[in-house]
């Protein structure tokens, strides 16, 4: 099962747990599994059917462009981190 690092601001939903082992072959499925374990997580990470614009998903150290469609392996590490921004505009 993949290891998900729970974002700090969502740890109130996971009882303070920093990492969770969850099933899923894609980031979408990983979030589904998280949601089943810790209800409310999906609404925080996603907006409609996609990841929130301000959230980046990192799988095995690389920021993914496929986002929810990104494949996740059995031993993958998944992080949700704030998207890096340069400025507002």
């Amino acid at each position: 099962m993949a290891t998900v690092w729970v974002p700090a601001l969502l740890r109130d939903l996971t009882g303070g747990i920093e990492r969770a082992q969850v099933a899923g072959a894609t980031v979408r499925e990983v979030i589904d599994s998280l949601e089943a374990q810790f209800p409310g997580v999906r609404a925080r990470l996603c907006e409609g059917d996609s990841l929130r614009p301000g959230v980046a998903v990192v799988v095995d150290g690389a920021v993914s462009r496929q986002r929810l469609r990104q494949k996740v392996k059995e031993d993958s590490e998944v992080h949700f981190i704030p998207a890096i921004t340069g400025g507002a505009g």
Binding site: R19, R52, H79, I81, I84, G86, G87, A88
Partner: protein, 749 residues
């Protein structure tokens, strides 16, 4: 794949392909373009930092002879809130439209309110003065801490604090709260033998590119819009225009002109949509808009001023046990400061078990922050690296030894839990410690030596390129990456390396959005990495095609043809690249290829800087005596331009540290909106800047390249502050460390 590779082109220092044009004055920058029938514009800007716009009367301006069009926010489509992906920056289109022309409220001094096109720039400037705007002046909020107060005047009528998808209930100026947490800082601080805690303030500063923003637009009768402008990313301009003007992307063509510096500040559009609207309204004439430096400073992207509190603790042996930071960054008038980038950088060079970071994105009545070289990183490193220096002092340790002891290595986890891949942090710190500068005696009173480290994550993103082989063996390369600092050279070199031909055989061209595939802008230290990767793929594809041609000539299978040392061969048959290129006609015509890549394996960059200063205790002036910048660049493709990036970043960092900063009066008017009063370093303010290139190849790039351009701006203010401390025994915690601040710290003001 690259540790032991020997290169023929990479690592050499050829002349840049666009060099002759640039030293003779022939190169065409945006303001050099002349089109028949061109009109010139001028912008009316708000004299108030915060004011409700009650009415705008443009009739007198419209009546002035020579005036062809006047545009206000009423002419802009009221775009829905949607976030356009701008790569390094994400932009809320509605706010961006509001920034282009103030609607309902002007939110900063210099906010554009109306714009005029006329037969000459002088007429346009006269017309602007005839526009009557009725303002209800509101109290401005200029300080990030003040803006966070519950009773602060509110800038935006719908802003509530976002905490990863959860919105606060009250209206506020705090657009977002971000948090990163690893381990348990409480426990970490309990384990510490020494702790240091300080608060830092950094001023709003500007990218300071010498060429002001400019844009020329032709809105054709058929609806096609052509924009010629000074931008870091032509496709980014196209994306923003499509949203702001609400037109299909196919209708827009963006032609990037030569660009006179950007440093992050020329990703966002300011003038382009206005020029397009004026062109449309003036009967489809081409319209040129240019800023002056007062406009540039007061109304284009500065980077955030900030308040940062840092607490760090270490055991007696120097091991850092916990690090905590609270970062509040000014976003300017609309949300979107680089505070998350600052959080990424703040303890980046170190492996620390327990970390807690809280970041706040806060709107204030200043221009919206735009990216600036390692956005948010310099502020953050200033805070952290001064605290580490103090830790070293309290522990009685050498400041570089302390850093080395805690340096991040492959497999160590950053604050956000993501593990580093192969990085060169240790190598950089070791190179600094072993550098003669670090050991050289520094005699004399009021002199001191400081060090600081810095990290930056870098970026990858989308790049495209295409190429065609000429019959003489030269290759025409078409790329979409705007060349701000010699990237035509570094990209051509990677193609030449791949093709195993001389770099002089490559003819690079930066193309418009109709001509080349989608390419993200020249930002995020991505161009040599990602566009370099694109031309690597391109080269391999061309070689594949040429192998097929050779196979045809020799009547063998393409797989039997090998290419090595610039020669195609099979059995006893041999043809050089140029010879085979000469036989294209007889083997099926032109050989062309195009590729698009989106690599995700950019490697982070690390830097360590050493600086000697002398402080004049009478005037408070700080002189830089000697400067050495050490940096891991992965692989230096064109070492001279790598050195140039490092030196340029250092120079900007020195300005940020010592002399640059926005001064607003109590009404929120920018008091130093000129290059005389916004003090960027001149050749007299800087010494020679020595560079030390460390090469720890990035395993995620065919030639080991890491981004180079951003990290050199991260350490300078901290290194200088640490040097000042060693020189005169006071810790400066506010930027810029101007003479007045130094005197104040010395108790003399």
């Amino acid at each position: 794949m690259n540790e032991k590779e020997t290169y023929r082109v990479i690592g050499t220092r050829p002349l840049r392909p666009d060099g002759a044009d640039k030293v003779t004055g022939r190169a065409l920058y945006g303001a050099d373009l002349r089109l028949p029938g061109m009109l010139y514009g001028a912008v009316l800007r708000s004299p108030h930092a915060h004011a409700r716009i009650l009415s705008i009367d443009t009739s007198a301006a419209e009546a002035l002879p020579g005036v062809k069009a006047v545009v206000t926010a009423a002419d802009l489509p009221d775009v829905e809130a949607k976030v356009a992906s701008l790569g390094e920056g994400s932009v809320n289109t509605r706010y961006q439209s509001w920034n282009i022309l103030a609607r309902e409220k002007a939110l900063y001094y210099g906010h554009a309110v109306a714009v005029v096109a006329a037969a000459s720039v002088h007429i346009a400037q006269e017309a602007v003065k005839l526009i009557r705007v009725n303002y209800e002046v509101l109290p401005p909020v200029l300080d990030v801490l003040q803006a966070m107060q519950a009773d602060a005047p509110i800038l935006l009528r719908d802003l509530r604090t976002d905490e990863l998808g959860e919105k606060g209930s009250a209206l506020t100026n705090v657009a977002a709260h971000h948090q990163t947490k690893k381990g348990d800082v409480e426990r970490g601080f309990q384990e510490a033998a020494v702790t240091v805690e300080r608060e830092f303030h950094t001023a709003t500063v500007h990218q300071g590119y010498i060429e002001p923003q400019n844009a020329t637009a032709l809105y054709n009768q058929d609806g096609r819009i052509t924009i010629w402008c000074s931008t870091q990313g032509s496709f980014g301009v196209r994306d923003q225009l499509k949203d702001i003007l609400d037109v299909p992307v196919a209708q827009i063509k963006v032609v990037p002109m030569e660009i006179g510096g950007g440093f992050g500040g020329k990703n966002n559009v300011y003038l382009e949509p206005l020029a397009a609207l004026l062109s449309k309204k003036s009967g489809h004439k081409p319209v040129r808009l240019t800023m002056n430096h007062a406009d540039v400073l007061s109304a284009t992207g500065p980077t955030s001023g900030s308040v940062i509190r840092v607490k760090m603790g270490a055991r007696k042996d120097g091991r850092i046990t916990a690090a905590q930071a609270w970062l509040a960054y000014e976003a300017g008038a609309f949300p979107g400061s680089p505070v998350t980038s600052g959080m990424g950088v703040i303890f980046g060079p170190y492996a620390i078990e327990n970390v807690l970071l809280d970041g706040y994105d806060v709107v204030v009545n200043k221009p919206p922050a735009a990216a600036y070289r390692a956005p948010g990183g310099t502020n953050a490193a200033f805070a952290a690296e001064v605290v580490i220096d103090e830790l070293a002092e309290k522990l009685g340790m050498d400041p570089l030894d302390l850093r080395l002891l805690n340096a991040a290595k492959e497999g160590d986890r950053k604050a956000d839990g993501v593990a580093y891949g192969r990085i060169g942090c240790v190598e950089v710190l070791e190179a600094a410690r072993n550098h003669p500068h670090y050991r050289a005696p520094l005699p004399g009173k009021f002199r001191g030596r400081g060090v600081a480290a810095g990290s930056w994550g870098n970026y990858g993103g989308k790049s495209s390129a295409s190429a065609s082989v000429n019959s003489d063996g030269s290759v025409n390369l078409v790329e979409g990456s705007v060349d701000i600092g010699g990237s035509r050279a570094s990209i051509s070199m990677q193609l030449a390396e791949t093709l195993q031909i001389p770099v002089e055989s490559i003819r690079p061209q930066v193309a418009d959005t109709d001509t080349v595939g989608y390419t993200e802008g020249t930002y995020g230290s991505r161009t040599t990495f990602a566009t370099g990767w694109a031309v690597y793929e391109l080269g391999r594809r061309l070689i594949g095609l040429l192998c097929e041609r050779a196979a045809q000539l020799w009547d063998v299978e393409p797989g039997q043809v090998t290419y090595e040392g610039g020669v195609f061969s099979c059995g006893g048959q041999r043809l050089s690249f140029a010879e085979l290129a000469g036989k294209m006609d007889e083997t099926g015509g032109a050989v062309v290829a195009s590729v698009s890549v989106q690599p995700e394996t950019w490697g982070p960059a690390f830097a360590a800087h050493i600086v000697d200063v002398e402080v004049d205790p009478e005037t408070g002036k700080v002189d830089i005596l000697r400067y050495t910048a050490v940096q891991d660049v992965g692989k230096a493709v064109h070492p001279a331009y790598v050195e140039g990036q490092i030196q340029g970043g250092v120079a900007q960092g020195v300005g940020w540290g010592l002399s640059e900063g926005y001064y607003y009066d109590a009404q929120g008017r920018l008091a130093n909106a000129s290059l005389l009063d916004y003090r960027m370093p001149t050749s007299l303010d800087l010494p020679a800047i020595e560079t030390v290139i460390v090469e720890v190849p990035n395993p995620g790039h065919p030639y080991g390249v890491r981004g180079v351009g951003e990290v050199p701006i991260v350490p300078p203010p901290a290194a200088i502050a640490n040097a000042i401390y060693r020189a005169v025994g006071v810790r400066l915690t506010t930027l810029p460390m101007s003479p007045a601040r130094v005197l104040e710290a010395l108790g003399k003001a």
